[in-house]
Symmetry: C2
Subunit: 308 residues, 2 copies
């Protein structure tokens, strides 16, 4: 058994950030990520890396943070309310990408570790990745979920984490999921530190590989102004989710953290049209039939039913 | 003493809606408001009137509603929590305007009456108006507050309602008010139905007259692309307020009301730039120094201090 080490996780996140930034700059060829670093008086530090106005990416935010706090926010853990208000250390990486080409999906990754100095020191990981297409390719969605299934290592874990994702990224006022999903986990520590960290590392690597594959497949496709308008409308849903629903954004807005970092996830350009459904073609509007929780992209549930 | 009549209030709101729509179409000369009507099975009805892509107004929503419900939502009253869950009737008019010209401010009006069938039937009014300039003219802001002071009839009422407005339309994560304010009141019934309704009518009339005056002053001014970009950035603040903070929008999103009506208030085009403060000129950025609660636009507080 190896010792629990938030330092090791931190190092991995910093390295992963560096590699994501490098890969995205290579994919974009024009856009460059700003380099910034912010130290907190208590030993925390943040490294937001944000690219704006690239050729491929209209905005991409790849942010690393390490924080030291006196009182764990209750939003940080659902299963361990007794840990709220204990001193803690946390480290996280988050990625949000808003491409210019509506054939290239938006994506999001978040990985985080909390270490809580309670009577019995406690740690847990959280995070996941999800995909938000504008013009959906079923091939990409299945590929994305195959990668998610592979990193999970078992149908059971994939099905559970995929369901978490569908539930979390849901806009009740629209009756839609934010995108076609992926995996999402929280309070994750059941398998011991080594195995959990191994999984978290694999999630980060899988994300980068899978998203890069999809970008390379679609980045060369031309788009129409109608398709671009559709993307800008759909980005409105993204802003609605982040501002009105997302726990992380809410916590960031309420906690007085650097607001530019908290809201770096918001889309660069958005439109809200009144009754847009009258204005966009059926083909594009059909996207929303795919944005429902519980779609069995890999036929896993069906299979198990057949076999039972 | 006249009888309390929600029918009379409803008629006034319908008539006011008609006049606002007529005035705005005259001001715009190109844009026309859609005519729509939605009936609820329980006797409620809604008349959203929305204009999009006008010459002067990029989007304007002037909405009337009458609703009948079994259980008053707790969000409807702060001072009378005992009335929550009682059967009620309510009627409201709301106006939100997003002009195309950054010299013309965005504005918002809301007027509403609730009639609650509790053991002792209870009624109250709520509402107010506020102004959100992009390129601020101190002359307009003072004029707006003079009109607000005039309709209030006393310094005391104006100061109280102006403070309510500053407090309600505040974005803590930005350290800014949404605009330069106005007046805001809730659970308003202390003066008896006749006087309260008279005040509410005067607020509606004052709003229409004051906003029209400001539009006519500024609509002919030319603007630069930098000024337009600034307006689109500031509209992001509007979306942040409506989606993350506004109680009415939150209630509408959670209650399953027609989402197109609830979110008709969102700006038509928005941009979120990372670190926009580095990109816009000081002159424009200086707006935010005026977006603070407690600015005494009419010198009322100073005067009363001098006299004391």
């Amino acid at each position: 058994m190896t010792e629990v080490s938030i330092e090791t996780v931190k190092e991995f996140f910093v390295d992963l950030q560096e590699r994501i930034v490098g890969t995205f700059e290579e994919l974009d060829s024009v856009g460059k990520f700003l380099e910034e670093a912010y130290d907190s008086p208590n030993g925390g530090f943040a490294q937001p890396r944000v690219l704006t106005n690239g050729d491929l990416f209209e905005k991409a935010a790849v942010q690393f943070s390490y924080s030291v706090g006196d009182r764990l926010p209750s939003a940080a853990t659902e299963r361990h309310p007794n840990l709220a208000n204990c001193p803690f250390r946390a480290t996280a990486i988050s990625v949000i990408v808003h491409p210019r080409n509506p054939h290239v999906p938006t994506t999001h990754l978040n990985l985080r570790m909390f270490l809580v100095e309670a009577q019995e020191p406690t740690w847990f990981f959280g995070g996941g990745f999800d995909l938000t297409p504008y013009i959906p390719f079923e091939e990409d969605t299945r590929f994305w979920h195959e990668q998610a299934r592979a990193v999970c290592g078992s149908d059971a874990r994939y099905v559970e984490m995929k369901e978490n994702c569908d539930q979390y990224f849901y806009l009740p006022h629209r009756g839609e999921t934010r995108g076609v999903g992926g995996i999402f986990f929280d309070d994750f520590n059941a398998d011991g530190f080594n195995d959990c960290f191994k999984f978290v590392k694999a999630v980060g690597e899988t994300f980068l590989r899978a998203y890069t594959t999809i970008v390379k497949r679609r980045a060369h496709l031309k788009w129409t102004s109608e398709e671009e308008e559709w993307m800008l409308i759909r980005r409105g849903r993204y802003a609605e989710f982040n501002l009105a629903i997302d726990r992380g954004t809410k916590y960031g807005m309420q906690s007085g953290r650097r607001i530019e970092s908290v809201l770096a996830s918001l889309p660069p350009r958005v439109i809200w049209l009144y009754q847009h459904e009258l204005l966009v073609s059926e083909k594009l509007a059909n996207l929303t039939s795919k944005l429902q929780p519980g779609i069995d992209w890999l036929g896993i549930v069906d299979n198990s039913v057949d076999k039972s």
